[in-house]
Amino acid sequence: MALEIRDIHKYFGPVRASDGVSFTIESGTLHGILGENGAGKSTLMKILSGFYEADSGEVVLDGEVLDLRSPADAIEAGIGMLHQDPLVFLPFSVLDNFVLGSPGGIHLDRSEAQSELARVSADLGFHFDPAVAAGDLTVGERQQLAITRLMWLGAKVLIFDEPTTGISATQRVQLFTTLKRLAQDGLIVLFVSHKLEEVEELCDSVTVIRQGKVVYEADMPVPSETLVAEMFGKIFVQEDHASIETGAPLLVCRDLVLDEGTTHIEALDFEIASGEVVGLAGLEGSGQRTLLRACAGLIDPTGGTLTVDGTDLTGASYRDHLHAGVHYLPAGRLEEGLVEGISIAEHLVLVSDDASFFIDWKKAEEVATKEIDEYSIKGRPDSNAETLSGGNQQRLLLAMIPDEVRLLLLEHPTRGLDVESAAYVWTRLLERRERGTSIMFASADLDELLRYSDRIVVFFGGDIFAVRDAAETDGEELGYLIGGKERV
């Protein structure tokens, strides 16, 4: 038996998420799929598991071309996927979760299901109390439950999407033992990850995906540097670093403890000088957003203090942070920045600090025309936010940043922008640092991090992994650090 992926294409508008992916995996293999954020791993796995339909290409299992139109089709064909967050209905019992989604009619034979659960889980070496609510299980146990269920449904291919996120070290060991056993029993196990160490430890073979294409295939072991190079591509041009005289500390974190979901940042001692630019590197969900949101006042620290410009803001509200000159620009431009159905002029009225009760629309239009011109926004004062392109939405957001802002917190400030727009955004941002504004930004683009930061903080697994001076590091080292490894 073999799983064959033949020339899969999947486009989202202009984005080529899968751009002609082909590879074959033999049964009994534990196969790693490596790639950085947005490389196209998830899209490919979603196609395999029936969540997306490919635009073209074929999935062949055991010589049979599969017609995958829904997750149910995939499971019937023998392909099961375990999501990062196991899809488990928390208030339901273990047994109910087990039988949920099983084929069959309205009749539900609980006692039979219970003996099946006992049988399959014993085979796998798991043990469950069928009556316990799934919400009382740990994330690791939920994974085991999901594996048990897929095996019972007859899975021949199991896809694990970043399965080690949020589970304990012991559970990780247990999970890896299970994965190896499943492969030995003749299953095809796909292990999707961005963590180099895990792939090196676990996998028999590996496929590296970059920009929707397979760029590298090999049997393990392979030297780490090869994998890093293939994941991120080469070429990190180190430009002349525009270093600037930075001032007194503006943001000061002392023993800061942050908790959000699976992210736990312990005892962070950290300062940003006035005029300094700090880049936050790391794979998505490694803790960068948590730090940004905490500095914006959207998460209360569980310990320590946070001061901005001498004002203690620990535990203060978001609006207090705003008044203290902290401005947060999240990644979702239209979800957590702009408002659909509201025009450019109206957005500028909303953020202006001298708007009167009755809006002077003539003045509002003049202001909008001026900002549109100054920030080269392609749109009219009465254009609604959702009609603007991503780059123009970002320009509008820039135009909405108050003049007197002290600390700018940005998430992926140039994501999805063309080169010209990205450069423009940074020109405007760097102008502000000359006036003493500090910038902290998260980015997945190593080039951007190296080019614009003074210092780079690397996150891994929900905590800060390393801090580097941008001038003294390079893309290769960052690649290692992001994967949770020091350069050897």
Binding site: F12, G13, P14, P330, V339, I342, V351, F357, I359
Partner: protein, 349 residues
């Protein structure tokens, strides 16, 4: 261009609803064109009928204007019915206890109605902002409580001397009635109509020309973005509830002081729920509320003629109103879907 694109499906849907209504009349064995002309005759056929239609139009305008405000803030203010009832109760209290001439009592009843409706709406509002209860459930619950209070007052503390009857309280003294203006041999509800039109104008101005309205719209369209922009979202949500509730409460005042002249258990006349249909049909726009509300009350008032002349139950009017709204909303959703289909072929999903 966009206006036209929005208007075409609405007109097609209205036509389809009309065809459906005709078919329905054929099914129940009534002559469809005679029935439709009776609807018109019943609502506009004589001076007294026009006056009755205008009197029914006023509370619907007020409740609809209130709903435009809460819808702008993104709220499904199903509690509007209860807000009308509490406005009516508060106005009745003033009409019963406050002595003095009309120019004291009548403004008093209007103010009391506004306060009653606003307080009731704020209850639903606080349940939402501070209790995490969705305004649909909070509002619906409060609707039942308000209806219960009205019935309790009518058969309990405010019962007519000697008899406890669900037919209502004693008639208020004449000074508490909203004044009518006599012309063409009938009394005209000038004050209620002015209140109704003024409420629509107020809402139109608020939403179009003020910072309050713009922030409200912003909160309604995306409350998280608005919060990040520094707008105190909860305060605006509560403001919308209070204002919407006040207008609905004045609709209650009109019901007790201009129409029934007493408190009855079913005092709202269903205008709260009907207003939801009106505002949905108006596409949440204040400017369209007035003509659509007039169209709806014309159907309601006119349909009493169906009963008298054709032996058709007057509920047919309600059926027709519901069908129109369903058809228009379906047409709108269909048009939106087609638009997003044609967009998704060019853009990322």
């Amino acid at each position: 261009m966009t206006r036209l694109r929005l208007a075409v499906p609405t007109l097609v849907s209205l036509f389809a609803a009309l065809v459906f209504g005709v078919l329905l009349l054929l099914v129940v064995g009534a002559p469809p064109f005679e029935a439709l002309s009776l609807l018109v005759e019943g609502s506009f056929g004589s001076a007294s009928k026009i006056s009755a239609t205008l009197l029914a139009w006023s509370p619907l305008l007020l409740a609809s204007a209130g709903l435009v405000i809460t819808f702008a803030a993104g709220l499904w203010n199903i509690g509007v019915e209860g807000q009308v009832i509490m406005g009516a109760i508060a106005a009745s209290w003033v009409a019963r206890v406050v002595p003095g001439p009309g120019w004291v009592v009548v403004p008093g009843t209007i103010l009391a109605g506004a306060i009653g409706g606003a307080v009731w709406a704020l209850l639903a509002g606080f349940l939402k902002t501070h209790g995490g209860v969705h305004e649909i459930f909070g509002g619906l619950g409060l609707d039942f409580v308000a209806a219960g209070i009205a019935t309790y007052l009518v058969i309990g503390p405010w019962k007519r001397a000697g008899v406890a009857s669900t037919s209502g309280t004693d008639i208020f003294r004449q000074e508490a009635w909203m004044p009518e203006f006599q012309a063409f041999g009938v009394g005209w509800p000038v004050v209620p109509v002015l209140l109704g039109l003024a409420s629509v104008a107020l809402v139109w101005v608020l939403l179009r020309g003020t910072l309050f309205g713009l922030r409200l719209k912003s909160v309604g369209n995306n409350s998280y973005s608005s919060f990040l922009l520094g707008i105190p979202t909860n305060r605006y949500l509560l403001g919308a509830f209070a204002l919407g509730g006040a207008l609905a409460g004045i609709a209650g005042t009109v019901q007790v002081t201009a129409f029934h002249h007493k408190l009855v258990p079913a005092i709202s006349g269903g205008y709260g729920f009907l207003a939801i249909l009106v505002v949905l049909l108006a596409g949440f726009s204040a400017a369209l509320v007035a003509p659509i509300a007039l169209f709806f009350v014309a159907i309601s008032v006119g349909s009493t003629q169906l009963d008298l002349r054709l032996g058709l139950d007057s509920a047919f009017g309600g059926v027709l109103q519901g069908v129109i709204v369903l058809f228009v909303m379906f047409g709108g959703a269909f048009a939106a879907r087609r638009a997003s289909w044609s967009r998704s072929t060019q853009e990322e999903p």
